[in-house]
Symmetry: C2
Subunit: 352 residues, 2 copies
Amino acid sequence: MAKVKLADVARAAEVHPGTASRALNPDQRGQVSAETVDRVVRAAQRLGYVPNAQARALRTARSHLVGIVVPDITNPLFPPIVRGAEHVLTSAGYTVLLTDTDNDRERERRQIESLLGRGVDGFIIATALWDDPLLTDLAEAGVPVVLTNRSASGGRWPYVAGDDQAGVRLSVQHLVGLGHRSIVHLAGPQNVSTGRDRARAFRAAAKEFGIGNGDARVSVCLSYSEAHGRTAMEKVLAARTPFTAVVAGNDLIALGALDALSDAGYACPEDVSVVGFNDMPFVGRLQPALTTVRLPLQRMGALAADLLMTELDAEGRQDAPTRTLLGVDLVVRGSTAAAPKRSRSRSRSRRT
Amino acid sequence: MAKVKLADVARAAEVHPGTASRALNPDQRGQVSAETVDRVVRAAQRLGYVPNAQARALRTARSHLVGIVVPDITNPLFPPIVRGAEHVLTSAGYTVLLTDTDNDRERERRQIESLLGRGVDGFIIATALWDDPLLTDLAEAGVPVVLTNRSASGGRWPYVAGDDQAGVRLSVQHLVGLGHRSIVHLAGPQNVSTGRDRARAFRAAAKEFGIGNGDARVSVCLSYSEAHGRTAMEKVLAARTPFTAVVAGNDLIALGALDALSDAGYACPEDVSVVGFNDMPFVGRLQPALTTVRLPLQRMGALAADLLMTELDAEGRQDAPTRTLLGVDLVVRGSTAAAPKRSRSRSRSRRT
DNA sequence: GTGAAAGCGCTAACAC
DNA sequence: GTGTTAGCGCTTTCAC
């Protein structure tokens, strides 16, 4: 843990720094005699040599730095993704620069610029908007980018995400199987792929399972949050059109919806069934335990990292971007149950 | 977003690179005529100049890189800390290198070494053991370190943590106020400060509030996890010594304990009250809603970052390390209630 | 197979 | 006030 440098190792091994460099570098080790390699490696070990990554990066124009951009690390969706990516990247000799944009576009732009100044080799981005000028700029600058969780319009970027369409389809199928015929979708924001895709999938699934247009309504939330989930649910309730089930854009929206339902005197699952998305930690311990769609988040991060590294090794000559959709599971718990005989009947017990 | 370099800016502004450097550097701007500064700054802006941090770091031996070391970013305790630190650091021009050690000491050592090779200026460490050779090595190497969440023996490192002692005291006081006279502490691991300090605080508080030694037992969990919380609780139950309340080392332990209690036929809070620690997201929505101690985690991270930056600016000449204990609140919810008349009576309703 | 030398982009000591 | 120069630690041509 000191600042021994290559020259020190070279001196100790009685070779030229250039030779020491070659001996220590796997790719060029072939150019050096086995005996010398051995001497150099020993010396490095003995002195506790740690190469100076800054200098190497300056010279090779490859930093082995990867920026991971998330909107809010305290949202439980992101830590597993970051963790998955981080493990893969550090195992491969990369270092992770994490940045939390706080859902602020200006901030995000600044951070990304700053990371570019740091010489990052590429980005894993979990904040993509559906139409995102920032991504376009990055692409034009030739910066390797992999999107995760969300995709973006144009099909220009490689990404790894959950199969939103399948998740929503499973949810609707499950509800229909329980006898629900009138279902509301509280959609996430429509400027991100997950919000759009899940809403689209909801409409498609409703059609597939024979639910009429009027019975498959969509109400859009302004953000993936409990607050906006609650608001959207309240608006639906105010409209007084009957429904017996809710497919929420994600778990936070589901929690907000649950609050609104409970305030309005509806019991879940007796009066209304609710399905979430993401299977956040502990939603299985809530009352009622939330039925939700589970995504392999950590694997998502890991695959995004793999994809990025592949792209980095490809050095420019790139094929069409790889897009990976990860399989999802419906985790059935207590928040979904058979449809009540008469829809929209308020539970007695909740009104005491 | 290109690779314009200082030389390009200098040429555009018709000055020498050295002058351009001075004009762009706030500290040395005084040495340059206002008119020149203006020309250079304009040129930089126009060309979209982003300084190469690697080169600067190589030259100045200051990278403005900070390593944040956490055991497991998916543990909800850490994201707010990271977020708080990240915001403060990026605002000050630092970049965060995040590393997740997966609770693996060997891995941690390797990561830290690798970050050192990256030239990080210092570390914010949330993984400190009470006796931690890694920290000692870092100190000997003269690497600035701030501990957060946990402290370490020796009083050698600055840290920012929650006031564990006060938190536990509040918990015990609350329980005693509810009539509990026989309380068990399910302590966290004793090789980390939080585990030790909370256990010590528990004994002290019990004494303060007049609970006898035999009625204030401590059972140690091997880790801060639901699984070990459950195991520890089961062991206490197997011992068949009466108790009416549990002070858990943290929320995860509390959840595990709740499971064990429920399996054994005890109802919470009717038969046994349970208090957690940390106020993880959504524990207020569980059934029963968990009474727990809330820490200002984000502020903790922010202060740790401030502390580290102060240390970095101090360049060696350091006073005694600053140690900050953040105030905590007891959040009273449904998992604590008045002590039952007869302790250890199993709830009828739970045994059906 | 190894040594010599140049240079990645920047800043700081030294001239003038 | 500005130009000149050297060098941070490393890799990589180019010699031999």
